[in-house]
């Protein structure tokens, strides 16, 4: 069977270069955040394993539904995801070494922990960068979760929404500020924050035609818009809860604090789930 030659080396290098830029754009805030390094050596191995697996699932979802090769088979998507995860590990190892976080002075457990934490977000950045930062003349399909007949795929949109929420919320989730706001803010203000999040989600998705929003969240009636907004906010809250749990922000907290932390992080997560999600696909 004759095989097509595949992309040229120069093309592949350009693609990796874009991925690298994307990986660093999304992960830089986390590479330069102390709490993230701490989490690298505080997190138990089981939690880190969960983190790697969760990152891989997110990569699969993103690559399948919003990535550059949405028409690719699951095998190809899996190959791409492994590649991005590996490049993420390599990139974050180099960056952490360059900023003096790892080296001969850190033990293996510390080193691996820190690299893994940073690698997750770098890998997702790689994926987004490869798909989104190109000039678009190499690949015709600019990555959108549609079926062949142009219909937006609901499951795919849920995955991309979750990716957007995670990408935005992860930048602030590990910081102490989330806990401080959660503890010091009263229930009425939290309710206001939730209302603002919902309003923002609705505004971005249905009323401003932000980054061709109509294409990915088409609605005919107010009721559909309402439903879409609620779903988006629910996904944002779910993403916040998972990230907060991972960064140990739920450990030993009262239920009320856990809820308010989730609402506080739910705001940036909603931004990611609405505006971020549209940018990921535009």
């Amino acid at each position: 069977m004759a095989r097509s030659p595949g992309p040229s080396i120069a093309e592949s290098l350009r693609e990796y270069g874009r991925g690298l830029a994307g990986g660093l754009i999304f992960s830089l805030p986390l590479l330069y955040t102390m709490e993230v390094w701490w989490e690298g050596f505080n997190a138990r191995p089981v939690r880190l394993l969960f983190y790697v697996v969760a990152t891989f699932v997110l990569l699969l979802g993103y690559n399948r539904y919003a990535g550059m090769r949405r028409d690719a088979s699951w095998t190809e998507v899996a190959i791409d995801s492994v590649e991005e995860l590996g490049l993420g590990v390599a990139t974050s190892a180099i960056m952490l070494y360059a900023i003096g976080r790892i080296g001969p002075h850190t033990t293996l457990a510390e080193t691996v922990g820190q690299i893994v934490i940073e690698a997750g977000i770098v890998a997702i950045g790689f994926s987004v960068g490869t798909a989104q930062l190109g000039s678009g003349d190499e690949e015709e399909d600019s990555g959108m979760a549609e079926d062949d007949d142009g219909e937006v795929h609901f499951g795919g949109q849920v995955v991309v929404t979750f990716c957007g929420a995670v990408l935005f919320a992860a930048n602030v989730a590990p910081t102490e500020e989330i806990l401080v706001i959660a503890i010091e803010t009263g229930p009425l203000r939290l309710l206001l924050l939730a209302a603002i999040s919902l309003a923002l989600g609705a505004l971005v998705l249905y009323f401003t035609d932000f980054a061709r929003a109509k294409r990915y969240s088409p609605v005919e009636t107010k009721r559909q818009a309402f439903r879409g907004t609620i779903i988006t906010y629910a996904i944002a809250l779910g993403a916040s809860a998972v990230i907060l749990w991972f960064f140990g922000r739920f450990d030993g907290q009262a239920a009320a604090v856990i809820v308010s932390e989730t609402v506080v992080l739910g705001f940036p997560a909603t931004l990611g789930a609405s505006a971020g999600r549209l940018l990921l696909q535009s």
Binding site: G6, L48, L49, V52, A72, E83, G86, V89, A109, I115
Partner: protein, 127 residues
Amino acid sequence: MKRPHKNWLEWSVFAASAVIVSTVLGYLGWCALQDHDTPPDLRIFTGAAIAGANSHRVPVMVRNVGESTAESVVIEVLLMRGKEEVESAELDLPFVPRQSEREGWVTFRHDPRCCTLESRAVGYETP
């Protein structure tokens, strides 16, 4: 549209990535199996004093052999002549991660060679 096949560069990147990812997963899995929920266990070692202009500097190495991180660690180092405390010094370390080491210095006005050094971790948080 069928996706074009990968070239040798992409296949080598994939192979290297697969090795990296499986190594990381294997290592974490192995650690997870070894992981017992033991509290921080700090061992403190002091080195030889170096005379300075106004003080004598003593290096302190703290090793956490437990499986949990110790946070806000306060280390006390005493200069003891027999049972008499000649001088004390303190060192604060923000973190001593599990299975890891941190280094610091304490200073004394007296020459530590006159006495024996005793050190202990006064207290720490577990995050």
